[in-house]
């Protein structure tokens, strides 16, 4: 059971890390700048926030399968199907739009006059960006929490691309599905409690970071 929980944490945590590293800067850029195609990009992003995990799972499955466009390349960097790496790929695709979209919305919510004001006070453009990110910290924490929640709770995509192989790709959600279908409700409920407890602890850490980690600018 610890092994299953550990894999859940590893897969969803890595997917979250990738999404935050790419999504927060991109979301910040979209929230602070306007350019041709901006509205279209936002539409795509918001649509992406609601992607059904099974559809993403299917898409990644087709891409990575041995006869698929990426799988047939047989390259080292392309994850193989039924491995944690494939599950991370699928989950990162699911939560990247969520992290990016919420970050963008958080920055759009900051008073537009503040930027002018900060420039007027002598901040460099980089200092302005940092300050605005700190101003939007509550929204960005929500973006991270929403991304993590979605990844941890997600079952369709990891089931398809991971295959729920015991000791290899079985995570909490896929294990719950299996135990429930076998009629092992005690076990399923225990796994469910572990999943909830994990989400609680991680969100607590995220919110602590948001409150404490306030940069001086």
């Amino acid at each position: 059971m610890l092994e299953i929980a550990g894999l859940s944490l590893r897969v969803s945590g890595t997917a979250l890390a990738i999404s935050v590293l790419l999504g927060v800067p991109l979301g910040a850029a979209l929230g602070l700048r306007r350019f041709p195609g901006w509205s279209f990009l936002r539409l795509m992003l918001y649509t992406g926030m609601g992607l059904p995990p099974v559809v993403v799972g299917l898409f990644v499955y087709v891409l990575l399968s041995r006869s698929g466009p990426l799988g047939s390349l047989n390259a080292v960097i392309i994850p193989r199907l039924f491995t944690p790496a494939a599950m991370i790929t699928a989950q990162a695709l699911i939560i990247f739009p969520i992290v990016t979209g919420f970050t963008m919305a958080a920055l759009l919510g900051v008073d537009p006059m503040l930027r002018q004001q900060l420039l007027s006070l002598g901040a460099t453009p980089w200092q302005v960006t940092l300050t605005l990110l700190v101003e939007a910290r509550a929204g960005i924490a929500a973006a991270v929490a929403a991304g993590l929640g979605r990844a941890l709770a997600e079952v369709g995509a990891v089931m398809i691309v991971g295959g729920n192989i015991a000791g290899e790709t079985r995570v909490l959600t896929t294990a719950i599905v299996l135990e429930t279908s076998k009629g092992n409700f005690d076990m399923a409920i225990a796994l469910g409690i572990i999943l909830l407890a994990m989400a609680l602890v991680i969100n607590f850490v995220i919110l602590q970071l948001e409150e404490r980690f306030i940069r001086p600018l």
């Binding site: 006059m113 420039l119 007027s120 002598g122 901040a123 200092q127 600018l217």
Partner: protein
Amino acid sequence: MSEAIFRLRNLRKEYQQRVVLDISHLDIYRGEILVVVGPNGSGKSTLLRLLNFLEPATSGEIEFMGHSILPGTPVSLHLRRQVTMVFQQPALLNRSVLTNVAYGRKVRGMPAQNGAMTRLLDRLGLAALAGNHAPTLSGGERQRVALARALAFQPAVLLLDEPTANLDPYNVSLIEGLIRDLNREQGTTIVLVTHNVFQARRLGHRVAFLLNGQVVEIAPAEQFFSAPQDARTRAFLNGELVW
């Protein structure tokens, strides 16, 4: 008071082909309080935005501290940091009063606290509020924080855009008193924009009347109010509509 810190030459600003500012010639002297009066939409705020280098002019030249700035030439950080503006609606950081006031010092790498900062907070009645969360302040307190934040790093030029609009008499006199003292004690050059003729009379060394983006008249305050040369200035001072 003879040396010009700003020299504006043939300065034009257009938004979508509409000319909002067209100043053929304007000098702002080091250490003076220049008050710019004019009706809404006369280009007062645009003038301040250009003086603060927040946006480039469409054409013309701004000479600042001996450096010529043309549209398209980037303004060095050092020059930009000599000027700051207090906006009509202060946008404060969602942080403590002290963090807000220290912001301009922090971005310049100056220590957040020093004796002058403490005196400034005291002077503006903010000492007791230093730890308070800025969004919880009243309108007058917010404007005083905005002023303290602009003064904390001792800029050479302070631009004020209707700094006391919508404030009660107590806050108005507190802010006006500070502006006057700051100019006298530290020699800070101040450009204040207002449509309040009485405020212009109380504070200005020189007063300029801006109408439709053009300087109609500029004169020492005494002369501006007692013997305005232009009929449009007289009409504005008498509270009549000018177009």
